[in-house]
Amino acid sequence: MLENNRQFLVEPVGDLQAELPVDGLLFAVGYEQRSTFVARELQGRYSSGLGLRFGSQEEGSFSENLTWCDAQPDVYTLLADTEWSARDAVAEWLRKFDARDSPAIRVIVDVSSLSRMLMAVIVSTCFECSRELGPIDVCFVYAPAEFTSPGDEHGPITKFGAVLPEFAGVSDSALGLATVIGLGYEPDLALATQQGLDPATCWMLTPTGVAERYDQAVARANARVLALMDTDDVLEYDVLRPFDAFMRVESLVAGLRRAHNVVLVPLGPKILALVCLLVAVVHAPDVGVWRVSAGRLGESRDVKADGRVTAIRAVFRWVE
């Protein structure tokens, strides 16, 4: 449970270079070539790199990514195939850092190829560990991918629920449900999500700023659900400006909470999943963050980073 006696600060990051060097960098070692892009770019600017392996779908660029990690003296990898192994891996990594001579442990987390569950584990564990280790200053970074056309199918839905139990959200049975659904380019997945949750009110978040072809693909994939929506309930967010996205989602949620139970379902770019988790922390424990996915049965699509990196900072602090 994410208690409100935890202090939490979210800030924009103007220049990533100004954040360096840092104590550590955490990233995924997955099938996307993009998963090690930031780790390679920032090589030498962090003292301990942790690559989390999923234990499944080890295909595409996975071998190449793993080989690169193994060759780096300051990088190690751990298997994070379950919620519990992931919590252990992240906590163990954070405990490596000594913050006695500095105001906070300072790390970078590259969310580009992390699963939503792993992102939630990182956010949750940062809070847990801040109790023991002091403030943890995390610069979350995201590297957009080069555009590749979406597949016709997104696989069977095998995960439909909270990303972690502490992100289920606590409901009030007297209130209706409000959902905020991020749009991705999986055909009709947002409509399926809306129909599955069957909310009293539904808002959609459309990503912009990545690439025109991506915007078009998102519009095509969601044409049917968007046709059913009031245009006032469809908001845009700029993928390359995560702090602005955070402010937008947070203010939307703050309004919705007055009369609804709120569940956020960040389909689409991973940066929105992070933004939603941060918003849920602000409104803990009431607001839920859910995932709707095929899990390991989903299509694995190897993608390359397009070279841009965007960032947002969160400071986790425990106050007794």
């Binding site: 069977p156 995960k159 139990p165 049975s173 009293a200 009110t201 049917r224 309004g255 007055r258």
Partner: protein, 638 residues
């Protein structure tokens, strides 16, 4: 950005609500909002009796609406709308399970803690939720509440007395004896209980140690019954001396809770009884000990929300349409007149309009006979003259037509002109026009309030100056409703085992069925009773059970009577929750018929195993893959 204002009350924004994608679920409305738009179905009177009741229906069949209408708030508002409906024998406490609570309970059961601890924790968390629902119900009668009754209101002293007693019973402390403080204290305890459980689960995974004293357990059963006794004794007005706890969406609860709640159907005393709404398939009913299992004959009554008689469904649908029209400032609009007659399912198949030579129906028969030699042979063998039905005095002469009518019409829509070398098929766009007209739309909605609520705004958008809805607008509205339903099926969660076989989840299976049944209608030799339903084999394994359970509870499959001679209803011996699909017979929901080109009537059944074997030889790669996967999964069992 300016934060959105809370949405205005639905009583004010009724016209707006109808046009939006959301708010098709009574779950998200207050009882007042539900009562303002309530159209009473035929079974409502039976539900209002003061006996234990088990209400069975799939998603969208109106369970939540009906239960909310049994609360003091719902009945009070409705009583003001409809005179003569305010004298109640009991008061109802509505207890839903929302998606967040369901997810928390599921997470708790799967947390890895010992099973008995998980069960006790889930019962406690749910218990605290039930207490919150009771407190919400009381708040309707409290002068300190913002939304409250205009009829039965407690004095401040009465409110304080009840709050203090309930706080003691439920183990919470209130600073001020007001209902809002009790609600807040219960919420606080529920949040802390969840937190303690999550921390315990975390520590247990790390150290395999569990300190039970750290967990918060609630004596659910005693605290529930004790609370209802407090209310029965302390609320003075008629109808408040006996309480019904109205448990909704029980099928999404963990099995341990399903069994506990179903066992309450055996309980009834002077203070308390239960009404429970469930989806047709209830895993928890399997394994419920006989001593806990009530009898549908002695302990509770059963109300089935799907499969009602045609006339009840028709009356309800027409009333729903008329009220939706009135809410949209279109008073007096009649469904039959607005949507017009149906070709596929005419209401009166004996009329001259139906069988006259110039009727659309006769034209279709003649058209099909010209281009389909097998249909011409069928007519010949039946000794019926398709061009002269109207002059046939003996209605028996029309009997073959009544049986074959829908099949012939659908077949005609898909079969293109005569061809000597091969049969040609039209696109399905033409055929969609078949699924219009009042009677056909009523039949496709199958009495489901949710389908009507989704479809009606689309129909009303197309109303012309003379109150008619053009066929094109009807087709668009039906298609939109069907797309949303298919998307819902697409998004249904399945296990990894099923996911490995079904690339689009439950929808893959539904598509397979639809394609097989359509193939039966358009196969080379005309068949007046094509295969259109299936019976699950006695040896069906867990994957098939899961698949059927999900499809039935979602409303994609409808259970039919096992016998083949009549009716759509499940048979009398089946007036219990379905705990297994084995040996049971199902058809596809009629809402799915336009997408595949199916008829809207009960058709012949074959075993699911046989059906899958046919699909395994299908031209469709996806159907073939799904069928082979399901057959392979069953190979050791069949």
């Amino acid at each position: 950005m300016t934060p959105p204002e809370p949405r205005p009350d639905a009583t004010v924004r009724e016209n707006i609500v109808l046009d939006r994608i959301d708010r098709f679920n009574a779950r998200d409305m207050t009882a007042t909002e539900v009562a303002h738009r309530f159209v009473a179905p035929s079974m409502f009177e039976a539900l209002r009796t003061g006996f234990n009741t088990l209400m069975i229906g799939p998603r969208g069949s109106g369970k939540t609406t009906l239960l909310k209408m049994l609360t003091p708030e719902g009945l009070e508002v409705w009583g003001q709308r409809i005179a003569g409906h305010s004298d109640e024998q009991f008061s109802g406490v509505y207890v839903p399970i929302d998606v967040q609570l369901a997810d928390q309970l599921e997470g708790l059961i799967d947390s890895g803690l010992p099973a008995d601890i998980c069960d006790a924790s889930a019962t406690s968390i749910y218990g605290l939720h039930v207490f919150r629902c009771i407190a919400d119900s009381i708040s309707w009668h409290c002068g300190s509440s913002v939304r409250r009754s205009s009829v039965n209101v407690l004095t401040a002293e009465q409110e304080a007395s009840i709050v203090e007693r309930l706080a003691v019973l439920w183990g919470v402390t209130v600073e001020v004896p007001r209902i809002a403080d009790l609600q807040e204290a219960l919420r606080h305890r529920q949040v802390r209980s969840l937190e303690r459980w999550q921390r315990a689960a975390l520590l247990y995974r790390h150290s395999a140690k569990l300190d039970i004293s750290e967990l918060d357990f609630v004596e659910f059963d005693a605290a529930l019954k004790g609370a209802m006794e407090v209310l029965s004794r302390r609320l003075g007005w008629p109808g408040a001396t006996r309480w019904a706890v109205l448990f909704d969406e029980v099928e999404v609860a963990p099995v341990v809770l399903q069994r506990l709640l179903l066992s309450y159907l055996r309980h009834s005393d002077e203070h308390l009884f239960f009404k429970i709404a469930i989806a047709p398939y209830m895993q928890g009913y399997r394994g419920l000990p006989e001593r806990s299992r009530g009898s549908a004959l002695n302990d509770y009554s059963v109300i089935e929300l799907v499969g009602g008689d045609d006339e009840s469904v028709r009356r309800f649908s027409h009333a729903f349409f008329a009220q939706a029209a009135a809410n949209r400032d279109l008073p007096g609009l009649n469904m039959e007149e607005s949507l017009g007659p149906s070709l596929l399912t005419p209401r009166n198949d004996r009329s001259a309009a139906s069988y006259g030579l110039s009727s659309e129906q006769a034209k279709r028969f003649i058209s099909l006979a010209r281009k389909d030699p097998s249909f011409a042979r069928y007519l010949e063998m039946s000794a019926v003259d398709a061009t002269d039905l109207i002059s046939a005095k003996d209605s028996d002469e029309r009997a073959p037509f009544r049986k074959a009518r829908q099949v012939a019409i659908v077949r005609d829509s898909y079969l293109s002109g005569p061809s000597t070398s091969s049969r040609r098929f039209k696109t399905r766009t033409d055929a969609r026009r078949l699924y219009s007209g009042a009677e056909t739309i009523v039949r496709m909605c199958e009495g489901s309030p949710r389908r009507l609520a989704f479809l009606t705004p689309g129909l009303l958008e197309g109303v012309s100056g003379r109150g008619r809805v053009p066929v094109g607008a009807q087709v668009t509205a039906v298609e939109r409703t069907e797309v949303a339903f298919r998307s819902f099926l697409r998004g249904l969660r399945v296990s990894d085992g099923l996911g490995n076989i079904l690339p689009r989840g439950v929808l893959s299976f539904v598509d397979l069925l639809g394609n097989v049944f359509h193939g039966e209608i358009t196969k080379p030799e005309f068949d007046d009773d094509p295969v259109g339903s299936f019976i699950v084999d006695a040896a069906a394994g867990p994957l098939i059970e899961e698949l059927i359970a999900r499809a039935v509870n979602a409303g994609a499959l409808v259970q039919l009577a096992d016998s083949d001679f009549r009716g759509e209803l499940r048979n009398v011996s089946a007036i219990e929750p379905m705990a297994t699909s084995r040996g049971k017979r199902f058809r596809l929901s009629y809402l799915l018929a336009p997408n595949y080109g199916l008829v809207l009537r009960r058709c012949r059944a074959i075993s699911l195993n046989t059906l899958l074997k046919r699909a395994a030889e299908s031209r469709s790669g996806t159907d073939r893959q799904v069928a082979v996967g399901l057959l392979t999964g069953q190979a050791g069992l069949w």
